[in-house]
């Protein structure tokens, strides 16, 4: 073993083994809280025994066997308890017969199914978004409450409470440990994908901060997405989300200037884009597109966003960007998930693809949109299109309006420069 901290080694084993361990044990006990306790008990046993007896060849199987023995003891104790309660004339409310110890040991297979059930349980809509995120990071990412707290800049006790309450809510609501079927699956999958996407964004949007944990959140989300893709290889949108995350993550290094200022997509040094992640993203997108085509379904929201991101990723230089395709993809996205922000992006794409007049026509329609009132990018885009049309005086007013609306100092400075460039 290395000379590194033994606690770090245990943490590494925990991270690798705990999701499958907890998933398998929840499958047995039907209780997330009990499963997590059993898994941790097994880990404690490992901490005591491995230094003496050496690390077993298959640590995962060792932990599972140990945890299962404890689960069986627990269930036996419960059975005795149940019998005694019955003797006393009480009835124990059980919705389904508890499996006997022998059946339990045989159920070692199907662990992948259990893992998938764990994902759907941790992301159940009965929980608040924060609870879903925390529970997913804890149960599937193997993160400690301390790590989760640091990542979201909240006190550790808050995260611990969230997790305890989430487990209680799941138990109270009688949420079954299962992957939903039929139309409910699509709905619930949305929640699962949203959790992964939220975790990623928390890391991505905060990259400007100094906190070292934030990029780790992106990596964590990527890992969760890849796990999900492995568990649901036939679900197009899962690959679409993974594609989107891989491509966005590929730009991380290029998104910040040396002085910490954000660098916009078209201004980024494409040489700093991570080509390994780009390739992985494009491969995942291919998969999402061909799965959708095979199923005869339109592309999902994440797949469409990934396809847009891919247009940028494929362009070696910004001027090689396929804006016509991007405009078409935004139109498809607007049809699926109409939103003023998507429309504004579509206006930008139209302006790039077919000239500023085409973009401006759409922007004019959006000026009455209440959701965009106070959104600085609306006048910024309008100003840009007007400037390109040679309508300098109008453009200047728009840039000034945008500068007054933005809350970002650097952006304001940039907008004021642009306003000045428009002349008097």
């Amino acid at each position: 073993m290395t000379s590194s901290d033994p606690n770090a080694t245990v943490a590494a084993v925990w991270r690798i083994e705990s999701p499958r361990l907890i998933a398998g044990l929840t499958g047995l006990t039907r209780d997330l809280g009990v499963a997590e306790e059993l898994a941790q008990d097994a880990l404690v046993a490992a901490l005591e025994q491995w230094p003496v007896e050496g690390v077993p060849r298959n640590p995962g199987a060792w932990l599972m066997t140990t945890a299962k023995r404890r689960a069986i003891d627990l269930i036996r104790r419960r059975e005795v308890l149940a019998r005694k309660l019955t003797e006393l004339g009480h009835e124990l409310a059980v919705t389904e017969p508890e499996p006997g110890p022998e059946q339990l040991v045989e159920r070692a297979d199907g662990i992948e199914d259990d893992l998938l059930r764990l994902v759907f349980t941790a992301c159940h809509p009965v929980l608040s978004t924060e609870a879903r995120v925390a529970l997913t990071l804890r149960l599937l990412g193997g993160l400690t409450t301390e790590e989760i707290a640091r990542a979201f800049l909240v006190p550790e006790s808050t995260v611990a409470q969230r997790i305890v309450r989430a487990k209680r809510t799941l138990a109270k609501a009688g949420v079954p440990f299962e992957v939903p079927a039929g139309p409910e699956l699509a709905e619930r999958l949305d929640s699962v994908l949203e959790v992964v996407y939220l975790i990623f964004n928390e890391g991505y949007a905060a990259t400007a901060g100094r906190d070292w944990m934030r990029p780790e959140l992106c990596e964590e989300a990527l890992r969760l997405g890849r796990i999900l893709a492995g568990l649901m290889p036939a679900a197009a949108e899962v690959h679409g989300l993974v594609a989107l995350l891989e491509i966005q993550a590929s730009r991380s290094a290029a998104r910040l200037a040396p002085d910490g200022a954000p660098v916009l997509l078209l201004d980024q040094d494409r040489g700093r884009w991570d080509q390994l992640l780009v390739r992985r993203g494009l491969a995942a997108l291919d998969r999402a597109e061909s799965l959708s085509a095979a199923a005869g379904e339109p592309l999902g929201d994440y797949t469409l966003q990934a396809a847009i991101a891919a247009c940028h990723a494929r362009a070696v230089r910004p001027e090689e960007t396929d804006w016509v395709r991007i405009a078409a993809l935004y139109e498809a996205l607007a049809r699926r998930a109409p939103s003023p922000v998507v429309e504004l992006n579509r206006a930008v794409a139209l302006g790039m693809a077919f000239g500023p007049a085409a973009g401006l026509a759409l922007v004019e329609e959006l000026t009455e949109e209440p959701a965009l009132r106070g959104y600085h990018l609306l006048p910024a885009v309008r100003g840009d299109l007007l400037a390109r049309l040679g309508r300098g005086a109008e453009a200047r007013v728009e840039f000034e309006r945008a500068a007054a609306l933005t809350r970002n100092e650097r952006e304001r400075a940039l907008l004021l420069v642009r306003a000045k460039e428009c002349g008097a």
Binding site: E220, P258, L266
Partner: protein
């Protein structure tokens, strides 16, 4: 963070001998495990050095090409994985699970990422040169 798990060559790999069916089976299972855990980014096996070349440079800027095979079998690389993990210990844990019966050496090396380059290496001058290039690109774009 990313680690490259490097597999060293031995006489067998250099002779182009393929692994046994059992080993391939075990390796596939291992690779699936890596992928399912979401940590596998890339992997490849390399042909023996007899199919490779070496390009060496002398002080005067001249280069010489030498055909393989190369002599120091143990110093050569036979294959690699690139994995993305949270800690070096996690990388070591994954490496420990590679199903090598006996023999075989794995080397773990952390992969450089953009944020690993300090100012002294990626100098302000280099950044400025880059900025000139970007500005040039933007100007060209504006000309369109």
């Amino acid at each position: 963070m990313r680690f490259m798990m490097i597999v060293r060559s031995d006489e067998k790999t250099e002779a182009g001998e393929l692994p046994s069916r059992e080993l391939i089976e075990a390796m596939s299972r291992y690779n699936e495990e890596l992928a399912k855990a979401g940590v596998l980014l890339a992997m490849d096996g390399l042909h023996p050095s007899s199919k490779g070349f070496r390009v060496s440079f002398d002080g005067a800027g001249r280069s010489t090409v030498t055909d393989g095979p190369f002599a120091e079998a143990k110093e050569l690389i036979a294959g690699y994985w690139v994995i993305q993990v949270k800690t070096p210990e996690e990388a070591v844990e994954w490496a420990r699970r590679v199903p090598y019966g006996d023999g075989g050496v794995l080397e773990l090396r952390q992969v450089f990422e953009a944020t690993d380059f300090p100012e002294e290496v990626f100098t302000p001058e280099a950044r400025e040169r880059e900025q000139v290039l970007i500005d040039e690109l933007k100007r060209k774009q504006a000309d369109h």
